[in-house]
């Protein structure tokens, strides 16, 4: 039904298409600078995606139907430096000659840092191939170092780091989880992850196949949804290229890659293959991560107006600890990291009076993270393994004494996405208007077999299998509308963008079906002159829940009620209190409210970008716990019963009574030892406290100091993070003994507003600054960068609006918690008894010895003291040298002075080292 609707819609669109709009012609050819050879396959664009054309074999292009106006004309081709200039179109422009230069270090200008994008109204950093080569990243997580104030981390593919933007190293508010990563328009999916919300790891992306990376930290376009604090967009190489062979090595990693852009018929096929192997410890090379990345991208333009980009990116690899002689023999673990992302994009240049381009996109994202743990187990006796899923008393399975078990977590995220986007550019006199609209459907799900043991009889005690494919897909249907208008005001230019996005989630059979969010987004930029512009934005972005939130892990409470040895074996009976799926009718979408204001100056060789931002994460997802009281019976073997080697027993599943057959064939009941009452925990989806982040980012590129061919770049960031939680947390101390009755469980569960720590808030301030000296000698085809990375300020403090000071004995003293010289404590706000009745905490409660155990006291006197570290810094060196036009060598040395200063925590007095280890690596690229 849906398909037919889309088809009819397309047919109507086609029918409405009238004769080509009358307009002006812009034509010419693209030549290689220096040789003046034609460059075929180059894309010439007006205003990003307005009118576009691909050059033919002779480098010729023609853009037909242009309206009068001012445009940015751009010509780009893989391996060449993108040409860009503003043109004024008053009449036909023919015979244009655009010369684009091959991207080598022999050029006058080379960019090895992140560049603030001029096209965008929001803060967007662009990182090109030259920078990626020069800094020799083996994983995407390295790009964080290129953002203002970012810090270098040593490459280590055995860590699957997720990116989080403007988060200042804190994951509060699920910062990494709400950072979207797209490769060629395919969203790296993490929504169907059952394990947690740590964010999508990026190590499966082959950096060698990347052409450019765009990092959006400002208010994103309404085109993008399901995100929070920002977005990273990766584009792989597309276009004709010579062979590129790369060898890279650093103490932990080896990498080999090959790529080429072939011409196939009238299209171009880009093929990239990469093999990387990384170990975490030099002393133990047995635990390693292998990446076999591949990209296959096909681009072709049909009839000059229909451009197809289709591709298949992926990876086959994972972690493997096989055959480590330090581990138990035969024991190993293996984690897949297999990725496959087929995708296509069809852009149809209609250029009518009511439409410019239509884009149809579709993609599939498949991520196999199946893990297998082949573990050695050996016990002195037969041990129980309870796997019951029904309430009641059950005889546990018996585990053998020595065995190997194979625990599998088979997670296979399989997402689908399709979208249709409409794009219309129109000039009304000097006013230019771009209208974008689109609809998108996305389905996130997991087709993995889930959690299980290959031999269910060997599953650990308390283990329950969990088939992931039983959980229904999460479908999202979204639509957006965004208008971007540019109005010249005297000599200045005002650019306004307003967008609205609507997303609705459908989850069959879930109580959370129909959650929706409306996200308005605004951006504005005022170009006061050619060299100064002001910009600002405000917007809301919603983050979809993940399966970790939608489908909490079933947790069972299993209690040993009676067990007995017989012969050389033993039997165990357990009471199982099953998991109860909780529903929180008040669950809301986690959303980010972003705002920023910026100033860009480009004056006399200085390029300055200053932006202030505020980023509020509202109602971040988190898992809470609710407790339900229950009771169970503990039995013992009847006195005087002579246990045979193989006793015949019957278990009453309701009462737990066990009947033992005596030699005469009669059943003797077990003796009730006691009836205990306790609390069973169930996980519940909740929204946490709002996280407030604000700060400033500064980048300054200084003009070149000619005699030493060196430019300096300063980038700095101040990040402030703050939250105060009012969200109530429940806590029951499993394992405490009853305050009066021997052998029984503790009798109260407590409710604490703001969490179960003495603090319920935190304030952190970080200031980071980096100074990079870039020496570029075109004649020597060499770039040397030395980057000084400094952490200038590290301040943090826990806060509380309910904690009070206490003495050693726990008596309230009335001091100031922030003096940091006494222990602190909090009272519960309420407590639940074993009948499920919730009582408010009163002054009398604090005097009751049984309840006093619920008072939470800080472990240290410095909990609320001002914490922080003194500044520390280190320096990195990167060198790239091209030898002729075929060979390029790069070398890096992180923290090459081995500056490892110990800095001391102001609150705890404990010292630590934060600068990275001295680390180095070499990369050789051969082009032919």
């Amino acid at each position: 039904m849906k398909k037919r609707t889309i088809l009819i819609f397309l047919l109507i669109l086609l029918a409405v298409v009238s004769a080509a709009a009358q307009g002006l012609e812009i034509s010419g050819k693209v030549l290689e600078a220096g040789t003046d050879l034609p460059v075929p396959g180059a894309i010439v664009r007006l205003d990003n995606n307005y009118l576009w054309a691909v050059t033919d074999e002779d480098g010729k292009f023609s853009l037909d139907g242009a309206q009068k106006g001012t445009y940015i004309l751009e010509a780009s081709c893989l391996g060449y430096v993108t040409y860009s200039r503003e043109i004024k179109v008053k009449g036909d422009l023919t015979g244009l000659v655009i010369r684009i230069a091959e991207n080598t270090l022999a050029l006058k200008e080379v960019v090895v840092t992140a560049e603030t994008s001029k096209d965008n109204l929001n803060t967007t950093q662009k990182i090109g191939r030259t920078a990626l080569d020069h800094l020799q990243m083996s994983g995407m997580d390295g790009i964080a170092a290129l953002l203002p104030g970012g810090k270098t981390i040593n490459p280590d593919l055995t860590q699957n780091n997720a990116l989080s933007l403007r988060a200042a190293g804190s994951d509060a508010g699920n910062a990494a989880f709400s950072t979207a990563v797209e490769v060629n328009g395919v969203r790296m999916g993490d929504n169907a992850n059952f394990a947690g919300m740590a964010g999508i790891g990026t190590r499966s992306i082959s950096v060698e196949n990347i052409e450019s990376v765009e990092v959006i930290t400002g208010v994103p376009s309404a085109e993008y949804g399901d995100l929070g604090s920002g977005m990273v967009r990766v584009t792989t190489k597309k276009g004709r290229t010579p062979w590129n062979i790369v060898f890279a090595v650093n103490p932990r990693t080896y990498e080999v890659s090959a790529s080429k852009g072939f011409e196939i018929g009238k299209g171009v096929m880009n093929v990239g293959l990469e093999w990387a192997n990384a170990t975490s410890k030099l002393t133990s090379p047995y635990t390693s991560y292998t990446r076999r990345g591949f990209t296959l991208d096909y681009t072709r333009t049909f009839a000059k107006v229909l451009r197809l980009e289709a591709g298949l990116n992926g990876n086959i690899g994972g972690m493997n600890s096989k055959s480590d002689p330090d581990a138990f023999s035969e024991a190993y673990s293996k984690v897949n990291d297999n990725l496959l992302t087929p995708h296509f994009k069809l852009t149809w240049l209609l250029n009518k009076s009511w439409v410019t381009n239509l884009t149809l996109e579709g993609s599939v994202y498949f991520h196999d993270t199946r893990s297998l743990d082949h573990a050695y187990n050996s016990h002195a006796a037969v041990l129980p393994a309870v796997h019951a899923t029904q309430i009641g008393y059950w005889m546990a399975d018996a585990l053998p004494t020595t065995y190997y078990s194979d625990q599998v977590v088979d997670s296979k995220e399989l997402d689908y996405s399709a979208s249709l986007k409409y794009h219309w550019l129109h000039h009304w006199g000097a006013v230019k208007n771009v209208l974008k609209a689109g609809v998108q459907w996305k389905a996130d799900g997991n087709v993995g077999r889930g959690e299980w043991y290959e031999n269910p009889a060997l599953a650990a005690n308390g283990y329950r299998s969990r088939p992931y494919s039983d959980y229904p897909y999460m479908h999202t249907v979204s639509g957006f509308l965004e208008d971007n208008v540019t109005i010249p005001i005297g000599p200045t230019k005002l650019n306004l963008m307003a967008g609205l996005r609507y997303e609705n989630v459908f989850v069959a059979g879930s109580m959370y079906n129909g959650l929706n969010i409306l996200s308005p987004r605004f951006n504005a930029k005022w170009e006061l002159s050619k060299s100064v512009s002001l910009r600002g934005g405000w917007g809301v972005a919603g983050k979809l829940p993940s399966f970790y939130i939608l489908y909490p892990k079933p947790e069972y409470r299993d209690i040993r009620t009676i067990d007995y040895s017989h012969g050389t074996s033993a039997s165990y009976i357990y009471y199982t209190q099953p998991y109860r799926m909780e529903y929180n009718p008040e669950l809301r979408w986690q959303r980010n409210q972003n705002a920023e204001i910026g100033l860009d100056v480009d004056w006399k060789g200085f390029k300055i970008g200053l932006v202030g931002f505020s980023n509020i994460t509202k109602a971040p997802y988190e898992m809470g716990t609710v407790y339900t009281p229950f009771s169970y019976n503990i039995y013992q073997v009847p006195a005087g019963y002579a246990m045979p080697d193989n006793p015949q027993v019957q278990v009453d599943h309701q009462t737990g009574m066990v009947y033992f057959m005596d030699p005469e064939g009669y059943y003797v009941p077990s003796e009730l030892k006691l009836t205990d009452r306790s609390f069973a925990a169930s996980r519940r989806q909740e929204n946490g406290a709002d996280i407030h982040r604000y700060g400033m980012e500064l980048t300054v590129d200084f003009p070149e100091i000619r005699p030493i061919k060196t430019t300096f770049r300063l980038d700095a960031a101040w990040n402030h993070t703050q939250y105060t939680s009012d969200v109530s947390s429940n806590l029951y101390r499993d394992g405490w003994s009853h305050s009066t009755l021997p052998g029984r469980s503790y009798e109260y569960a407590a409710v604490y507003r703001g969490g179960t720590n003495v603090y319920n808030g935190r304030i952190t301030d970080n200031v980071d600054a980096n100074l990079t000296a870039i020496t570029h000698i075109p004649r020597a085809r060499m770039v040397i960068t030395i980057r000084l990375e400094a952490a200038l300020l590290r301040n943090s403090r826990y806060t509380s609006d309910k904690a009070f000071t206490v003495d050693d004995k726990g008596n309230r003293t009335g001091g100031n918690i922030y003096d940091g010289n006494s222990y602190t404590a909090i009272y519960p706000d309420a407590y639940m008894d074993l009948d499920g009745v919730v009582h408010p905490w009163t002054a009398e409660s604090a005097q009751d010895p049984a309840l006093q155990r619920l008072i939470i006291r800080s472990g240290n006197i410095y909990t609320f003291a001002q914490d922080g570290y003194s500044p520390y810094m280190c320096a990195n060196l990167s060198v790239t040298k091209e030898i002729g036009s075929h060979v390029s060598l790069s070398f890096f040395a992180n923290n090459f002075t081995n500056a490892r200063p110990m800095v001391t925590s102001r609150a705890t007095g404990v010292s630590a080292i934060f600068t990275p280890n001295f680390y180095y690596g070499l990369r050789c690229r051969i082009k032919f």
Partner: protein
């Protein structure tokens, strides 16, 4: 020129190589250490008290005796020392300990205040906490921990209600959070749980020279799978078995068929949240204690003033007065030079070191041969100083 640069570089490397923090103290001339034994009021020094001076890394140790005035003068090189003084008369044993005494290029004069304590009736005879190998299978094993108690007196003693526990911090080489200005607190921080022998008062007599085995984890025949372990499936064993409070079946499996339900230990209180009882594998402190008559131990432990919180942690312990202690043994980690005392000198002035874990090694109290011959049953040495009283044995005494 190149040579000069190389030379300069080499010089820099050399300088960097020498820029070490150096030793915390340099070996120099000997220092004069004067130790004076100060006896409790009413007791006069008679000389002959044993003074042991042990450098903590174990490189040097001296044993000297005090003169008639109660003091002794000796010469020691720079170092960090543990000094213990012990003496005994007919009624009491006297002990004093000074831990982590730094002597560095100065003469030191110490007054050691001796504390009088009585030799106990029930003493700890053996602590087996170090585990053993799973050979011929792979791996190591530690669910077979046990303690043996011994009646060292000439009277029948009743174990009923005898409490036991291990102290915070669990390991001797951990920083001791209870030490303030070098002093231990005036109570014993019993961590995790207070255990007790069951019985109504006279259910579990222990005759002079008799032993009682306490299985702190599994009361099963561990040798069925692991021949280097011990058989704790025996009718006389007291077993820690409580499926509500310690439900972890790996550490607390169903007791063997010979174990009697009447001999399961009582849990007076559990303040820890672990599902298995933890006794340090390399350096526990084990104490036996009894509440004085008139004090109900169950009521005592519930009061929050008797439940101090471990400094630097959220865990609570039970504060047991020192004079409740029947016997206590301090075990040091033989592989560490950072051991710190947890028991005061009145309970255990020294410590016994466990040199290796998972080798079946055990810590045994020495027999007093002359007294044993005299009394006609096995009498163990009890000077409240485990350095003297204990030795490390290659295999568990229960190993067969």
């Amino acid at each position: 020129m190149q040579n000069k640069i190389l030379g300069l570089f080499a010089a820099l490397v050399l300088v960097a190589g020498c820029m070490d923090n150096g030793e915390p103290y340099a070996l120099g001339s000997l220092n004069i250490l004067t130790v004076k034994a100060v006896y409790p009021d009413g007791i006069t020094a008679k000389g002959g008290a044993t003074v042991s001076v042990v450098e903590v890394s174990g490189i040097t140790s001296y044993t000297v005796s005090t003169g008639a005035d109660g003091s002794v003068v000796t010469e020691v090189p720079n170092g960090i020392y543990r000094i213990t003084v012990r003496d005994r008369n007919e009624d009491f044993v006297f002990n004093a300990t000074k831990d982590k005494l730094l002597i560095s290029n100065e003469n030191v004069s110490l007054d050691m205040e001796l504390k009088a304590s009585k030799a106990g009736a029930i003493v700890v005879k053996e602590i087996y906490c170090g585990g053993c190998s799973k050979a011929p299978k792979e791996g190591t094993y530690q669910s077979d921990k046990y303690v043996i108690l011994h009646n060292n007196s000439i009277d029948t003693e009743y174990l009923d209600g005898l409490c036991m526990g291990t102290l915070s911090p669990y390991n001797s080489n951990a920083a001791n959070p209870w030490v303030v200005d070098g002093n231990l607190p005036d109570f014993l921080p019993v961590i995790q749980a207070v255990l007790a022998i069951p019985g109504k008062g006279t259910d579990f007599p222990l005759e002079p020279g008799e032993d009682a085995v306490i299985a702190l984890n599994g009361a099963i025949d561990h040798t069925a799978e692991y021949p280097l372990s011990v058989n704790l499936n025996r009718p006389d064993v007291f077993a820690l078995y409580d499926s509500v409070l310690f439900p972890n079946a790996t550490f607390h499996p169903a007791p063997g068929p010979l174990v009697q339900a009447a001999r399961y230990l009582d849990i007076i209180i559990k303040t820890g949240q672990a599902n298995a009882y933890t006794l340090s594998v390399n350096s526990p402190t084990f104490v036996l204690f009894r509440a004085p008559s008139g004090v109900n131990i169950r009521d005592y432990v519930q009061l929050s003033e008797h439940q101090p919180q471990v400094p630097g942690s959220n865990e609570k312990v039970v504060a047991i007065p020192q004079d409740w202690v029947v016997d206590g043994v301090e075990v040091f980690n033989g592989g560490s030079s950072g051991n710190q005392k947890r028991l005061p000198a009145t309970i255990d002035a020294g410590a016994v070191s466990l040199s290796e874990t998972y080798k079946g090694r055990t810590l045994m109290r020495k027999a007093d041969e002359s007294l044993s011959t005299e009394q006609g049953f096995e009498v163990l040495q009890d000077t409240n100083n485990s350095t003297e009283d204990f030795y490390e044995r290659e295999t568990q005494s229960l190993h067969q």
